[in-house]
Amino acid sequence: MANGKDQALLTEFAPQIERTSLIQFIWIFFLVGVIAAGFYALYVQISEGHIVTGMRDNVVWGIYIVNFIFFMGVSYAGALISGTLHLFRAEWRKPIIRMAEFITIIALLIGPCYILLCIGRLDRLPYLVLFGRIQSPITWDVIAISTDIFGCLIFLYLAILRDIAAIRDFQGIRLPNWKRKLYRILALGYVGTPEQQKRLHRATDVMAAMVIAIAVIVYSVLAWIFSVTLQPGWHSTIFGPYFVIAAVFSGCGVMIVVMWLFRKIYRLEQFITRKHFVNVGILMLILAALFGYFTFSDYLTKWYGSERNDELLINLLFDEYYWLFILSNYVGVLMPMIVVGFPKLRTINNITISAIVVILALWVNRYLIVVPTLESPYLPIQDSRPAWLFYNSTWVEWVLTAAGVAFFALAMTVGSKFIPIINVSEMQDAPPPEDEEILV
């Protein structure tokens, strides 16, 4: 199993796994602190009630649900990128596929937590199963997301199995006994016999295809939670595919940022090159075009027909939310198209900056889908309480948002200290002879 090239690669990654530097300790400590603050905010919300959030009877869902859509989207992108690239046997995927898998599973664990934060009676959560009604899109969501988590966990596990076995067999790494034992258990006795290789390969192929399908379903169901209602701005047939595209788009952005960070921190310049940024960047460009097309199509039909409530919503978006609308639906679409579209602008840093813009734009895009719609219901809001008129998110909601991002960063950090952030075993597989770089 552990041949020379494999060992050389593992030696390269051994320091990550062997020890944690002081800066990394401070970083982890900081993230744990943010998460602890999140738990405090959660305590405040549970003890004092949802009155501590900015949500009220009109805007009943705020940035929690935006975060929910956002993290689920990021997760979906990881699944789609790793799944498709695996199935297409794209050779360039190898150094980045592990990151995509990590993103998938971590974001998938964070996302549903945000929907729980919207729930008024967390103590009654078991009712979703005990009294579940299949007619409700929330039940569809419960089924879809739990299937997704299960499928993605299996997919990720299959993907890291060979590396776990490699670390177990690798003598050049100093590990405490408990860790070595853990690797031995997790490797499930994989030693790389031809039969084992064949089975693992087939299982990974099946799971890659499954994960893509499940992710499409999950994200469509998520969109239907909005579009099955009669709310102007949500009641749209386009929402299923629109959300799917937006999800992969935002996930590509996160992918690029994560690649940039790991490349810098672990000095992976020889593995992750400009080629990878450009390839994922081109994926992002295509998705930007699709996303822009869906967005335009959705708002054009609303605006052109000018049904009274659609018109109210459009007016609100172009008045109260003008700059956010411009950022999310113009800058967020055009910037990746320009940066990646012109070869001269395609530097690693430029692509990463546009990826950051894309992430922000997509988060705002979800905010603009959720909040303004709830602020412009069929019956005009006639209220003298400012909180009931317009949604103003509070510190509790922002601290919990920060806690989610911190958990994402923490899990990525800790994950990379346990499993090499680059798929060591796949890297040493010889590329199939017909392989060509498909995008560049």
């Binding site: 009630g49 009943v60 729930i119 009712y127 009294f131 069929y378 019956l379 006639q382 209220d383």
Partner: protein, 322 residues
Amino acid sequence: MKRESDSNPKKSSRRDFLKKSLVAGAGVVAAGGLVEAYLDTQAAESGEKVKVLTTDGEIVEVDKAWLRYPRVSRKESRKGIPGRKFVMVIDLARCKNARACVEKCQHGHHLPKDQEFMKVYLLQDTEYTAPYWFPKPCFHCDNPLCVSVCPVGATYKRTDGIVLIDTQRCIGCKFCITGCPYSTRVFAWRHYEEYDEDTQPYSPEASSPGVEGTVSKCDFCPDLIRVGKLPYCVSACPMGVIFFGDLDEDVVTNGAETFQFSQLIRDRAGYRYLEVLGTRPSVYYLPPVERQFPVNRGFDGLEENVSKRYENTPYVKKQRRK
């Protein structure tokens, strides 16, 4: 009857009811049938006496204000009152935003000021059409989206047409609030002291006591209907704006006047709000023609926080410009 609290002054809280079961006589119950009741001897006396039959077969005279009717269980509340299909008619020509319906409803359901099951809007359909006051209860739709989307069956449609919420079941996901196109549902964003005022056991038919972190809304007061009374809003309205009745019996009443429902809707061109949405409401409106009050009367005597609600309506803005 002897007041039990006289012999035991320690137990003088409102929680202590005389547990003896009673069957209230027809004098109390307009509909005639036998209704179970019990006595709350701590309540203030009204001076008005009624004759009731005890479970022992005795006829005794008690103060009318002492009578209490036990609420139906959560399970029972899912069934609906047999042979009924309730309907409400709101006559917009009579409404002057007196808000008696809102206040009586809040009092009856032990609601805080923050929560209104009945809301009164000032609507004006277009710039040149007339503004009017628009009392809006729950429409108890026959095709209720709120019921469809509930993941745990906490909100349900009954055989008598009423849509209720079981706040002991509700998980507070608020999906029904976004599902309702009429902004009818309210959420308990925190615990309110008013909830504690209700000492009776919870029943979805009473929508009380409220529960923090759950959704509630107008319930058509089936607890009152069961004892032959009209919903709080109907009996409170000084103008007789709100009519309540039975679609199958084809009759609606506001307590003082009774109409044949089909004829009233036909003669006064009754309609349902936002029919285009296909929710099939059980609440009908009579258009504001030949009004009894000018719209401006609706601003008289409003509390500041209520009058401020209408500041941003096109009508008030236009008035202010003049």
